[in-house]
Structure formats: structure tokens, C-alpha cells
């Protein structure tokens, strides 16, 4: 099983995402932003970081990278895509996911061990969780406040497309405590928190992030 990890200029958590993929026994394939070739990967992760320095808007410039054209095409035909933090922002800017991520309401970068609740286990990236399960994984960003208009919000809730919700105090002002969403098909998921930093309690707050990566293997094998 091959999972691609895209490196944009300014990507930071690309090596961490690759480590997480290897940790569940899959092969991590490095993808370069300037190269539209996806090297036969079965799934793609857009990692965290500050691509293009987060200038203008997070993800706004990366969205136009050649690799994204290929990813958008494959995502529309069902390839699993996970956007973590900056990757989530890129997915929104690319309109693969609705809404936008804006400045945290406290206006600071926030790095914290965040408690979250799994709301949807039918996506390619969350099938190995149970609904209502609570996990703790790192949240670290300056622009993680999920915003969208009322109609979009109602649609996301009605269709059960909220994948992950913050538990406890709202850390960043996200509408309805939304920490992650999926597209209608369930193959594209965007998350603000970082499961790749919770694969080993030695280097993270827990190993609660692993099921995101085992889930996609399950989804791919099931095909």
C-alpha cells in the first residue's frame, strides 16, 4: 500500500506524516509540489506546516501547485485524501471541502493536547474508530477556526459530515466546535489536529492518532 505525502515549500510535518504511515506498515511516497506525477499512490496526505509561509491566506498559494491538479482529479474519483492542519486549509482553498479556516479567536498560535470526539466513522480515514470515542492528540496552529455560512453548516450537520469535534472549551472559535470534516463521498477528510504527532506516547500525548492511518489501509484493502 502506497500513501503519498506532499511536500510544499514550507511544509513541516511531512516527515512526521511519512513516519506515521510507516508505523502502520504502509509505504510512504514523497510527492513534490511542483511535480504533477502521483507515482501510483493509493492515497495522499497533505501535511501540516506553513506552505508558502502561510502568507496571504493559509493554503491559498499551495492550492495552485501542479501536484494539486492531479490530486483534485483523483480525489473526485474516490482516492482517499487526508489534509492535516495546513493540508486541511489547502483542501478548503481547493474547494474539495467547504468552508475556510480563519484566525484563532484568541489571535495566538496555540499548541495544546486537545481532547476530541469522533463523530463519523464512515470515512476512509476514521473507520477504525467508534462513534463517540474520545481521543487526545496535538492541536497546533494559528488559523484553525472553522468558518462557513449557515447553509453550509446546516448541510454539514444534516449529512453527518462533521468527522471530529473539540471537546470542552472551544480552542479557536470554530463553528459548532468543528475540528474536522469530510466531503459527501467520505474519501476526502480535513482535520485541524495532528494525528501524526500522536502515534507514540514517547513523542506525543498518546497513540490515539494511529487509527486514522490504519483506517485508510482498511479502506484500501476493502476495495
Amino acid at each position: 500500500m502506497k500513501v503519498g505525502v506532499v511536500t510544499f515549500p514550507g511544509s513541516l510535518d511531512d516527515r512526521d506524516a511519512a513516519r506515521a504511515i510507516r508505523a502502520v506498515g504502509a509505504e510512504a511516497i514523497a510527492l513534490w509540489h511542483g511535480d504533477s506525477e502521483l507515482h501510483n499512490v493509493d492515497a495522499v496526505i497533505l501535511p501540516g506546516g506553513f506552505s508558502y509561509g502561510d502568507y496571504l491566506r493559509c493554503g491559498a498559494i499551495s492550492r495552485f501547485a501542479p501536484v494539486m491538479t492531479s490530486i483534485i482529479e483523483r480525489a473526485n474519483t474516490g482516492m482517499p485524501v487526508l489534509g492535516i492542519c495546513n493540508g486541511f486549509q489547502i483542501l478548503c482553498e481547493s474547494h474539495l471541502l467547504p468552508g475556510a479556516l480563519t484566525r484563532n479567536h484568541a489571535l495566538h498560535f496555540l499548541c495544546t493536547d486537545q481532547r476530541l470526539r469522533i463523530e463519523n466513522t464512515t470515512t476512509a480515514w476514521t473507520s477504525n474508530f467508534t462513534v463517540g470515542q474520545e481521543i487526545v492528540i496535538p492541536l497546533k496552529n494559528g488559523e484553525g477556526s472553522f468558518q462557513c455560512d449557515d447553509a453550509t453548516l446546516a448541510q454539514l450537520e444534516d449529512e453527518g459530515r462533521v468527522v471530529l469535534r473539540y471537546v470542552g472549551e472551544n480552542p479557536n472559535g470554530s463553528r459548532n466546535l468543528i475540528a474536522g470534516i469530510t466531503n459527501a463521498r467520505g474519501n476526502v477528510v480535513g482535520l485541524m489536529p495532528h494525528p501524526e504527532h500522536a502515534i507514540d506516547p514517547l513523542t506525543g500525548p498518546s497513540a490515539d492518532g494511529l487509527p486514522f492511518f490504519t483506517s485508510v489501509l482498511t479502506a484500501l484493502v476493502g476495495k
Binding site: P9, H108, G204
Partner: protein
């Protein structure tokens, strides 16, 4: 006005030059004339003036810093010592680690966000320059009183700047310090440490050798940043109409630096450079003269080929510009194509600006006219050296003789009140409002970060080899006794490494002081260096590099002498490290080390506005034994936490709050002293009751006093008959900083300008 060339300098020997406005003394200017055998051109004058500044030449500190070499202990671990951009230490398994601290104090006062951000950027480039991948940063900080209006301008901006730059580079922040004191009002200290790792054979040095090799400038384009003083020269001498105003504030672009790091590492991996130097203070002047001086001496540079952000810059200004995110490499002609290719891949601007020659002169041209022709050593390494007068200031004996008069809590309610007062004080209160603005997880190798005693990162995922770093300074002790203060800071940093189970290996330092022209300050500095050098010799830890920051004073008031000491240690298997606290009930708590009435310079004294008495004397032999004990006994410890500011009260409070697991403590004798004293060389450990015998044997073997002080468990910190619920303790500990800074200026579009200090 016409270009000032070497030829012109020959024909107009008497032209008056604004050397004083550039900070040169008449005799220094005279020396330049003697070296050159003529008057300097304006470009040469600009180069000498910045390179001979205190900041670049260490002219006041050099005579003292020599002791680090003279008294250097023998160390097999040292691969590269003082003199390079950063020292390099062998940590085994073929890995080399490089680390260094630098200050960015003054820029951070003028523009907190950018000052702090570019401080991080600068030290990261120093580490990169050694050939290493930067893997973590730390940030020892000092501020004026926590409730002073200017602190509310400065602190949030500095914190946001450190986070803004470091987070964007993908460097985990694994530690630092935040201390408030009146003397830092108007003079905050921003010290930044970076650590990097490489294989032994990847070490790079800053030298230009090999005739015909190319001088390559890559990274950001050059703008008018940070050339304040030199624009005087440009405008007064050359442009009577007054050139565009040059910013004295440097703005950082962390994205460009991140790309520069990845690009450089790819270049290093293919072994494409002979020598390399980052551009920091004094920009191209420094990089070209240092590279040439450390090499064979000859270099030719065509300054007009330097890519500019601002086309109106004069040659003098280009030489001086401190534009960030630039590097200068020496590349063999056969490798230049590949070098350019990698730069193109990363979209990094790159230009060949010159070559190494077989002469011993640094020659710089501007559209083919020679504007600089100097022996590079005289610019880079043979600047003026001062033996400034050192006189022990009057205050020392006076404050040493003062008797402290402090309330000493004895009843349960007094103890409760004292604990709450101490841990809610800004210096001891929880700093997570600050540290949660820093990414501590990025790179996936952080084993320990705030609030542990030291930062620890894994450097090999397979063998679990790791390094730990701690930075410490106790300026109150240094004020009372700078010699002992330096040794005590060294001991504390080393102890903080050892509590986690890492073996101390090497030292870096950042010496923050007032004006070297004040003989009292110079005495503090000399005593500090002597203490640190003696301490390092005694503890067998080599100084690998560091930085000196002088002129930290507001009016006549100098900051407290603040030597920030960083110690690096190695741990063979990070999985075995000892955390600072426990999450289990039923462990026994022990105190290693004796407690004396050491309240001088303590936090308790500070909270009662007293800064007198005698600093403790460092007993480094005992510290060495304690470190051996900690390393040997490491498998026995479920937790280990060092005692420092705030004494036992602070240590116990931090331990019980870490995992919300209480403790019951029984103390005998003088309770107030036991709780509040800051006697150095002490550590609290938690151990399984079954290990009682082993702990006692260990203590006896290393001749360290051992006292059993209590057990873990429950939902309160109970000290004799004083009980404080963990919730109450936590509120006291965590409310202070957010209450002070929660609505500060960093939330806002702009920080308050200097002249609006009164507001807010």
C-alpha cells in the same frame, strides 16, 4: 556623488571622514589608516567600523574570554571549539551536535516581534552554517516588572515573534526561561538557542580556500535593513540631497529561511561546498572578510552583482546591510552547476559574486572600480582589543553585608499563604500562556519540553539516542557575587540535564551585561567569565561558544549581570529518561542534598523587595557527585525534579500539578528554611518503596545527604499540617500570567510604539 574608490583615496588623503559618527574612536581610525597606508575608502571605512564594533569584534570581552581556551578541560567530545559559528560536540554513534545561544536584546526592545523573530532566524543560520540540520530552539527571556505597561508592549510581541519565526521553520521549542525584574524594564533580554545535528563527516567550516573557487551568495535579496549608522556615511559623504531613509529594523521572512534550510541541507548532502558562512551582523562585510581571513586570505568580489531588493542602495550600504536569510558559500567551479540547480529547485535566488584568489587581499569592486582593498584579517580578526578598567563596585560589599529581614512562615495558615504567594508570583507562575504559542511537537522527536527541567530531543529513531539541553541564569546571585553566580548557573544547568538522565557534555553561554565602559560592570563581567571558566574546568565541561551582549542599560541603570549558561548532554536511550513528575500514588519522595539558610537572592526575598546578603558558594565537587548519583541511580527514579528559584515550595508544587497527583510531606526542623531556602545542589526524587535500601546505598556511596520527605497520592499538597487542594494550587499557579497578558498588545494589529508607553 562620485564613487569613492581606492584610487580616489590615494589622491585625496585629507578628505574628512565621519568615523566618529560610525562609532570609531580617533585612534581606531588612525590605525585603519596605518594598516592601509592611506585613508580608507568610504566602503572600507564602513566595513572596519561595523567589524570593529563591540558586537562584532568583542573588543572589550576578548581578553577575558581567552580563559575559556586557557582553562579548557580536556574533552574527547569537542570536535569544533570556540571561534567557529558554533561549537560541535561528539555525541556518539557517528553523530555530532552543534548548539549556541545568541542575544537579540536591543532590536527586540525597538520592535519586539521582528527583533525576536530575527534573533531566532540568526541563531538558526549559525547552526545551519556548521552543516547541521537545526532540530530545536530555546528562548531564555528577561523582562521588566510583569505589571509595567512597557512589559505589555514588549512581552507579547517578543513571544509572538519567537513563535512566529520558530514555528514557521518547523523547529520545536523545547525550553527557555521567563524572568521579570525591574532592571530589565527598558532592556528586555531575548536570548535564543538553537541545536542542530549532523554526521561527523558533514561538519562545515567558515573558510574560503582553494584558488579559483567561487564565492556564491544565496537566499534573500539584499535590502536596506539594519544599516542605520552606515546611512550616515552614505548620506553625509555621498549624497548631499539625503538618500532614502534606511530602516534600522530588520524584518524576517521565516518562509524564505525554511526554504534556505532545506536547500542548504540538500547542497551539503551532495558535498557541494568548501566553506560556508551565514550573513548576520555586518552582513557581507563580515561574511567576506571572515571567510577570506580564515582561508588563504585572497578573495575578489564584484559587489554590483549582488541582487538587490532596493536598487538605490550604495555600495557602502550593500556591504553593511543586515538583510536576513542570506548565506555565502565557497564552491568549486566543477560543482557550481549542481549548486545552481538545487537553488533553482527550491526557488532560491543565487549569484556568483566573486572568487578565491592567490593574493592575501580582499578586493571588492563596483562596476570594475576597486572600492575595497584590505588584508581581511585586519577587518575580521585583528580588531582593537581593550583592557578596560575593572573595579569592584561599591554596592557589592554593602549589599553582601545586609541582613535579610523576611517573614518566616511557621503556622499552617502562614505556610499555605506563603506557598500560594510564591507560586502565583510572576517569576514562578505557570508560563504555558507563553509556551503554548510555541510548537513543541514538530519533527516528531521531542521527548521533553516545557515544563520539564530540560528540553530533550531524540536524534536517532532506531537507536533512541538523544540530547538534552538546559539554559539557566540566576541574576540575583550574580548581582551579589558574579563569580559564584556564574558557577551556580553552570551547576544548575548541568543538574537539570542530569535529573532527566542525560550526561552533561558541553557548555554554551550568553553573557548579558551593562556598559563595558563602566568599570563596575566590567568587573562583574570579568568575575563572571573567571567563574564560568573555573567552573567549566572543574566540572570537565568545555565551553564551545557563546555570545556577549553589552550596553544593556537604561540611563545609568545596568541590568543585573545575567550570564545565561546552556549545557548540552547526551542520553543513550531516551525511553529511559526520568520525567520531572509522578502520576502514581504510593511513591516515596526523597530530597537529595543539604538545605541551609540560603535566602539571599531567593524568590522569597525578591517578593519582599530585598536583594541583600551573601550568595551561596558553589560546591562543584558536590555537584559532580550529585550528577554521578543521578545518572547511576536513574533506573530507580520514577521522577526527579531539581530545586531552584522558589526552593522546595516551587519544586513540590510543580510536581503535584504536572499530572494532578498530590503528595503528603513531613518536614522537621526549621520549616520556613526547609521550604523557602534556595540552597543549590538539591533534587527531589520519587521512588518505589521497595527501592528504599537502594536509594540509601546510592546516597551513601556518593556522599550526598538524603532525607525522606513524604509520599505521593491524594488530591492536595499537604505539608505537615498545611493542606492545599490541587484545584486551589492550580488556580494560583495558572491564573497569574493570562490575567496579566491575556489581553495584551500582541492580540492587536500593532504593538504600542515606544512613545506611547504610558498608555495601557
Amino acid at each position: 556623488m562620485a564613487l569613492d574608490t581606492v584610487a580616489a583615496a590615494g589622491t585625496t588623503p585629507d578628505r574628512s571622514q565621519p568615523f566618529a559618527a560610525l562609532g570609531l574612536k580617533p585612534d581606531e581610525y588612525q590605525r585603519i589608516r596605518e594598516i592601509l597606508g592611506r585613508r580608507p575608502t568610504s566602503s572600507e571605512l564602513a566595513m572596519y567600523s561595523v567589524m570593529w564594533s563591540e558586537h562584532c569584534s568583542y573588543k572589550s570581552s576578548k581578553v577575558h574570554l581567552r580563559q575559556f581556551g586557557e582553562k579548557a578541560p580536556h574533552s574527547d567530545a569537542l570536535l569544533v571549539g570556540i571561534g567557529e559559528n558554533a561549537g560541535v560536540v561528539d555525541v556518539g554513534q557517528g553523530y555530532a551536535v552543534t548548539f549556541k545561544i545568541e542575544s537579540h536584546n536591543h532590536p527586540s526592545f525597538v520592535e519586539p516581534y521582528q527583533g525576536a523573530a530575527t534573533g531566532v532566524g540568526g541563531i538558526v543560520r549559525d547552526i545551519l552554517t556548521m552543516g547541521a540540520r537545526p532540530i530545536a530552539v530555546m528562548d531564555p527571556l528577561r523582562f521588566g516588572p510583569a505589571d509595567a505597561p512597557d512589559t505589555h508592549r514588549v512581552l507579547p510581541g517578543i513571544v509572538a515573534g519567537i513563535g512566529g519565526y520558530g514555528n514557521c521553520l518547523g523547529l520545536p521549542n523545547i525550553g527557555g526561561e521567563i524572568v521579570f525584574d525591574e532592571t530589565y524594564a527598558g532592556n528586555p533580554l531575548v536570548n535564543a538557542l538553537c541545536v542542530g545535528v549532523m554526521r561527523h563527516d558533514q561538519i562545515k567550516l567558515a573558510k574560503a580556500s582553494g584558488v579559483g573557487n567561487l564565492v556564491v551568495l544565496y537566499g534573500a535579496k539584499t535590502g536596506g535593513d539594519g544599516i542605520g549608522g552606515v546611512s550616515i556615511l552614505a548620506s553625509e559623504t555621498f549624497d548631499s540631497t539625503g538618500s532614502a531613509k534606511r530602516p534600522s529594523v530588520q524584518v524576517g521572512d521565516p518562509f524564505v529561511e525554511k526554504v534556505l534550510i532545506e536547500c542548504s541541507l540538500e547542497i551539503f548532502a551532495e558535498d557541494l561546498v568548501v566553506g560556508i558562512q551565514d550573513l548576520g551582523g555586518a552582513g557581507l562585510s563580515c561574511a567576506t572578510s571572515e571567510l577570506a581571513s580564515a582561508g588563504t586570505g585572497g578573495m575578489k568580489v564584484a559587489l554590483d552583482t549582488v541582487p538587490l531588493r532596493d536598487p538605490s542602495l550604495s555600495p557602502e550600504e550593500i556591504l553593511m546591510s543586515e538583510s536576513q536569510e542570506r548565506m555565502c558559500a565557497i564552491v568549486e567551479p566543477s560543482k557550481i552547476d549542481r549548486f545552481l540547480e538545487i537553488c533553482k529547485k527550491w526557488d532560491v535566488t543565487v549569484t556568483v559574486i566573486g572568487e578565491v584568489t592567490d593574493s592575501d587581499r580582499l578586493i571588492i569592486t563596483w562596476h570594475d572600480e576597486v572600492i575595497v582593498n584590505v588584508p581581511p584579517r585586519t577587518v575580521a580578526h585583528e580588531g582593537p582589543v581593550y583592557e578596560r578598567p575593572c573595579i569592584k563596585p561599591d554596592y557589592v560589599d554593602r549589599v553582601n553585608a545586609e541582613k535579610l529581614n523576611l517573614p518566616m512562615p511557621t503556622t499552617a495558615s502562614e505556610i499555605r499563604a506563603a506557598v500560594l504567594k510564591l507560586i502565583s508570583s510572576p517569576n514562578l507562575a505557570d508560563k504555558s500562556w507563553v509556551t503554548s504559542q510555541y510548537d513543541k511537537y514538530v519533527q516528531g522527536n521531542t521527548i521533553q519540553s516545557q515544563p520539564e527541567d530540560s528540553g530533550m530531543v531524540r536524534i536517532d529513531e532506531k537507536t533512541h539516542l538523544g540530547v538534552a539541553i538546559s539554559t539557566d541564569a540566576n541574576a540575583s546571585w550574580s548581582y551579589l557575587n558574579p563569580y559564584e553566580g556564574a558557577k551556580l548557573a553552570l551547576a544548575e544547568a548541568a543538574r537539570n540535564i542530569a535529573t532527566a538522565g542525560a550526561k552533561p557534555l558541553a557548555v554554551t553561554n550568553c553573557l548579558n551585561f551593562g556598559s563595558p565602559e563602566d568599570p563596575g560592570v566590567m568587573w562583574q563581567f570579568a568575575e563572571t567569565v573567571r567563574g564560568l571558566a573555573d567552573g567549566c574546568l572543574e566540572m570537565g565541561l568545555p565551553v564551545t561558544g557563546g555570545n556577549v551582549s553589552f550596553y544593556n542599560s537604561t540611563g545609568d541603570v545596568a541590568i543585573l549581570p545575567t550570564p545565561v549558561i546552556g549545557v548540552l548532554g547526551v542520553i543513550q536511550d531516551v525511553r529511559t529518561r526520568t520525567p520531572m513528575s509522578f502520576d502514581r500514588t504510593g511513591l516515596d519522595l526523597y530530597l537529595f542534598g543539604e538545605t541551609h539558610a540560603d535566602l539571599a537572592g531567593s524568590e522569597w526575598a525578591y517578593l519582599h523587595n530585598q536583594r541583600g546578603g551573601q550568595a551561596p558558594t558553589a560546591d562543584l565537587q558536590r555537584e559532580i557527585r550529585l550528577i554521578k548519583l543521578l545518572l547511576e541511580g536513574q533506573p530507580l527514579f520514577a521522577a526527579a525534579h531539581d530545586l531552584s528559584q522558589g526552593g522546595l515550595v516551587a519544586t513540590l508544587s510543580e510536581m503535584v500539578l504536572r499530572h494532578n497527583m498530590g503528595a503528603t510531606i513531613q518536614l522537621t526542623g526549621d520549616l520556613a528554611t526547609a521550604l523557602l531556602s534556595e540552597t543549590p545542589g538539591r533534587v527531589v526524587v520519587a521512588v518505589e518503596p521497595t527501592n528504599a535500601q537502594a536509594i540509601n546505598t546510592l546516597a551513601a556511596k556518593h556522599q550526598i545527604a538524603l532525607t525522606q520527605i513524604g509520599t505521593t497520592g491524594g488530591s492536595s499538597l499537604t505539608i505537615n499540617d498545611a493542606a492545599i487542594g490541587l484545584d486551589e494550587l492550580r488556580r494560583a499557579f495558572t491564573d497569574t500570567i493570562p490575567k496579566l497578558f491575556g489581553h495584551s498588545r500582541a492580540d492587536l494589529p500593532s504593538i504600542l510604539p515606544l512613545d506611547a508607553k504610558k498608555i495601557g
